[in-house]
Symmetry: C2
């Protein structure tokens, strides 16, 4: 039955049209400022249609959150060419920060907003596969560093979490306007400068 196939294809198309419209508005005017009505308007469909394809707003947010991780994966691609694990770790941090500051709304959605996690909790899925995957990449890089004799005396998982926390914290403070609120001497470069302090520190370790 070729018709059923075409229908399935059309369903998928409309679903990703909704997501595409949603993302455009999110980037343009922020996630909180974007309503279902806005999204429906943007793609010239009715409100009701959106609810046919997504059970609620959280479902849209979760789907876009997943897409964000795919994008982050794209940013990470260039890491595969770097053989030295310590160098790879350093660049990974830079890329993570770059991604966060170039896609603030998406970053917020992926690592800060409650919506995607609530979607998981509310019985839709058991595990945060996107997060586990990304953290796994970091962890295995740190593991390689340790195998080469770096980070002596440290423990893999807490150490990896510490590094994640560090870059995440910088991005959060920046995105949520706390860094600019604190009257720094060089507010424009604080995140990079601050990350360099970390690199200087692990350079000794």
């Amino acid at each position: 039955m070729a018709i059923a196939d075409r229908k399935a294809r059309e369903k998928e198309n409309l679903k990703s049209l909704i997501l595409q419209g949603a993302k455009k508005l999110f980037v343009e005017k922020g996630i909180e400022q974007t309503t279902i009505r806005n999204i429906a308007d943007e793609i010239d469909y009715s409100i009701g249609t959106v609810y046919v394809y997504f059970k609620d707003k959280n479902a849209i947010l979760h789907e876009l959150h997943s897409g964000g991780f795919a994008e982050l994966g794209g940013y990470f691609k260039e890491l595969y060419t770097i053989a030295d694990p310590m160098e790879r770790l350093r660049i990974m941090g830079r890329i993570y920060i770059k991604f966060a500051l170039e896609n603030t709304e998406m970053y917020d959605l992926m690592f800060n907003l409650k919506a995607p996690m609530e979607f998981l909790t509310k019985g839709n899925q058991e595990e945060w596969n996107e997060g586990k995957g990304a953290f796994g990449v970091l962890k295995s890089t740190v593991e390689h560093c340790m195998e080469q004799g770096h980070f002596k005396g440290h423990t893999l998982e807490p150490l990896s979490f510490m590094i994640w926390s560090l870059v995440h914290g910088m991005c959060c403070l920046e995105i949520r306007q706390r860094s600019k609120g604190v009257n720094l001497a060089n507010p424009e470069t604080i995140v990079t400068d601050s990350y360099n302090e970390f690199l200087l520190m692990i350079g000794k370790a």
Copy 2:
């Protein structure tokens, strides 16, 4: 005119009654789940009265955010008895984390939510004095550490921001459910374990 004095006092009382009711509900059921109607009900006043004392919801959130910093200051009190700056720095981090995890909603409000910063931006006040004060305490402690020969080759402000980012990032990931989503071996102790990794690292620096 003693009556005017009493009236001013009563006005202050009612204002702090509103704040007190709001905070109770925030802690009980979360900031996002608390409405103005809830607050009014809680203290047996009408919705309108709340708006006589606060221009909008952001004003309430900002005021409570300020109160949160006062509370954090209380937590920090015991630091004054610690003479050694490195030890003071280490304990400061522990206390910060303790405060964050014991007062998750308040911490979120102070360091993550947009509301208090929007209140400042929207012409109510120029500077984030609470944040500047808290960051100043950290910065001066780090400065003392450097004066004693620690953190050689580092720069005060970016280094301080890095430390702040580290503890903030851990607390954020924990509060916003990202740490538990990542399938750690010891999820209950990850924040403390992770902070200890940092202490181990600066122990060498």
